[in-house]
Symmetry: C2
Subunit: 341 residues, 2 copies
C-alpha cells in the first residue's frame, strides 16, 4: 500500500508555519516555493539545478502539457516525472486558469470549457473530469480541482457566479479523483487540492472556503489572487480567507509572487507558492538579490566586477560579475537566462 499523503505542522511563529508535506516521492519542506516547469522544463535550468536551488517540488501546467506533447503520450512514455527527469513531487494545475488566459476562442458551460489551442487552433474540451484524467495520466502528485478564475476587478455578481461554478466543479473534481483512485489511475499517496475563489469579496471567500472545507480535501489553495487586484487587496483578502481553512492541512497561494509577497503571505500562514517570476525575470535580465532587485540591462553594471550577490548561497550569484551579466543580456545570449533563472 502506498504511503498516504499528509502534512505535519512542525512549528508556528505568530501565524507563520514551518511544516512538511509527506508524499511517496519525498518530503516537501514548507513554506515551499514551487518553480514552474510549464511544458515539462523549468525554463533555462537543468533538473539538477532546480533541485540544488532548494526546490522540493515543481509545478507542471495541465493546459500546456495536454496540448503538447499530450497527456496520453506522456502516460505512454512513463509519466511526467520520467519524461522530464524529476523524481521529486510534482504539482499540476487544473488548466482552468490558462484556458482563460491563453486560448483565444473558448466557451464556458456548466460542463466545462470548450476551446481552441493557442498553438495550432485544434479543438479541445476541459472539464473537471477531463482535467483530473489528464493530471492522473501525467502522474501528478498534487492535483488541483478544475475551477474558473476570473480577472479582477469584476462585478460581484460575476465573481459569485464563477465562485459557485467552481464549487460545483470542485465536487465533480473530487468524485473524478476518487474514481481514479478506485480504478488504479491514482493512489492515496497522491492528493487533490481544492481552490478557494471569491475575488476580493470577504463574504464570498468565506462561503467558498466553508463549502470546500465541508468537502474535506487534503489541501487548500487560495486562487484568483495576483490577477490585477494589487498587493494590498491581495494581502487583505488572504488575511481574511486563511482563518477559514483547517490548520492541519497545507495552504497554497497560487501564482505568487515577489519576495515581499512571499514574506507577507508566509507571515499570514501560507505554506506553498508557485510563480513564473524568478525564471521569467531571469530571461529578461532581472534578478532578485539580497540587495534588492537588479535590472542587468542598466548601463551602471557595464564595468562592475562585483559578483551578483555575495549573500546568496547560489553558485551563479558568486561566479559571475555584474559586467559579464550586463554584456550577456545586451547580447541576447542564452547564458544570461541560464544564470539569472
Amino acid at each position: 500500500m502506498t504511503q498516504a499523503f499528509s502534512y505535519n505542522l512542525l512549528k508556528q511563529d505568530g501565524l507563520a508555519r514551518l511544516g512538511e508535506v509527506l508524499t511517496p516521492r519525498g518530503v516537501i519542506r514548507t513554506p515551499a516555493f514551487m518553480p514552474v516547469g510549464t511544458v515539462a522544463t523549468v525554463k533555462a535550468l537543468y533538473p539538477d539545478q532546480v533541485k540544488s536551488a532548494g526546490a522540493d517540488i515543481l509545478l507542471g501546467n495541465t493546459y500546456h502539457l495536454m496540448l503538447r506533447p499530450g497527456a496520453e503520450r506522456v502516460a505512454r512514455l512513463g509519466g511526467l516525472h520520467k519524461f522530464m527527469r524529476w523524481d521529486g513531487p510534482i504539482l499540476t494545475d487544473s488548466g482552468g486558469f490558462q484556458v482563460m488566459s491563453l486560448s483565444t476562442i473558448r466557451k464556458i458551460t456548466e460542463e466545462g470549457v470548450a476551446f481552441q489551442s493557442h498553438i495550432d487552433g485544434s479543438k479541445h474540451m476541459l472539464s473537471p473530469e477531463r482535467s483530473i484524467e489528464i493530471q492522473c495520466l501525467l502522474g501528478s502528485d498534487i492535483q488541483m480541482q478544475f475551477d474558473e478564475c476570473i480577472e479582477l476587478p469584476a462585478e460581484r455578481k460575476e465573481v459569485e457566479r464563477a465562485m459557485q461554478l467552481s464549487l460545483r466543479w470542485a465536487e465533480r473534481s473530487k468524485r473524478a479523483f476518487e474514481a481514479q483512485v478506485a480504478s488504479g489511475g491514482a493512489t492515496n499517496g497522491q492528493a487533490l487540492f481544492a481552490i478557494v475563489q471569491g475575488g476580493t469579496d470577504i463574504d464570498l471567500r468565506k462561503r467558498s472556503a466553508d463549502a470546500l472545507v465541508a468537502m474535506d480535501f487534503p489541501g487548500y489553495a487560495v486562487g484568483g489572487l495576483a490577477v490585477g487586484e494589487g498587493h494590498d487587496a491581495m494581502i487583505a483578502t488572504l488575511s481574511e480567507t486563511l482563518p477559514h481553512l483547517p490548520t492541519h492541512k497545507p495552504r497554497y497561494l497560487m501564482g505568487v509572487g515577489t519576495p515581499l509577497d512571499l514574506i507577507e503571505a508566509v507571515r499570514r500562514g501560507v505554506d506553498m507558492f508557485d510563480c513564473v517570476m524568478p525564471t521569467r525575470n531571469g530571461r529578461h535580465g532581472y534578478a532578485f538579490t539580497w540587495n534588492g532587485p537588479l535590472n542587468m540591462r542598466n548601463a551602471r553594471h557595464a564595468e562592475d566586477l562585483a559578483p551578483l550577490d555575495l549573500v546568496s548561497t547560489c553558485p551563479a550569484a558568486h561566479d559571475y560579475s555584474h559586467a559579464y551579466m550586463h554584456h550577456l543580456i545586451k547580447s541576447g545570449e542564452y547564458l544570461d537566462a541560464m544564470i539569472l533563472s
Copy 2:
C-alpha cells in the same frame, strides 16, 4: 620570464599527428577542436561544461568583442579570461573574416577595412595593427594575423590579389605583435599565427605558405576554406597545402567542420579546428551521434524513450530521451539548446 609558446609532436600515424601545444595557461592536446565563444560565451553552455566536454581551448571573435562589450572595456575588466570565467587558453580570430561576412557597409584599402557595425551602424576601422591591439587587449593566447578572406568561387586574379594583400598584412601583423611584446602588451607565452590563403588554387596556396613560412610564425592556419568550395575541393586543397608548412609547428584549419571533415583533415595532418556547427546545430535541434546525425524535430522521435547516444561519454547524451528532446525543440525551449549544444 613567461614560459614560451611551443608545440610538441608526440606521435605520427601516416600524416595524422598527436601532439600538444604548450601555453602558460595550459596544455592544448592536439588534434583539438575549439568551441566558438563568439561574444565571450559558448552559446547555451556553462564554462565548466565546455571544459568537461573535453575542450582545452576556446575561440573568441575579435569582430564581435570589439563592438560589444569593446576591447578596451574587456581590458579594464581584467581581460577576456576573467570576464568569461575561462582560465584555459583562448584563441581569437583577427576579425578579418567576420568584417566581410557581417558588416553591411565596408571599404577595403591597403590600410585595412573601414566598416559600420551590424549592431548599431557605428563606424570602425580594422587594420593589422588595430586587430593585434584588440587581441592583446582581450589577452588572447593565440592571436591570428589580419587577413582578407574572400568567398569562393572567385576569379583567380581576385584570389591572388587577396592572398597578396594578406601576405602584406601578415608582415604588418607580425611587426605589431612584436611591438606589443616589446612594450609589455603581450608576452612570448602568447603567439601569433599566420593564415595561408589562395582559394583552391594550388600554386597560390604554395606561394602563400612559402612566404609565410619565411616570416617564421609559431603556428600556421589554413584559411579561406569551407567558404563554398565543397568538401572535395577543400580536402584536395588542404592535401596540397599542408606539405608546405613546417612539421614542428601547429596547423590550424579555420572554420571546419563536420565530423567527416575533421577526420579527413586530421588524416592529412591538421592539429586544430574551430567551428560553430556543434552549438549552432544544437540550437536548431540537430545532434551528431555515433549513430549518425539526428534531427530531433523529426516525428519519429516523439515516443522514443532511448537516450540520445549511449556510446558518447557526454552526460547529456545518456540522461535525456529522444522523446523529451523532440518535445523541447518543438516547444522552443532553452533546455533543448542547452542539452544538444
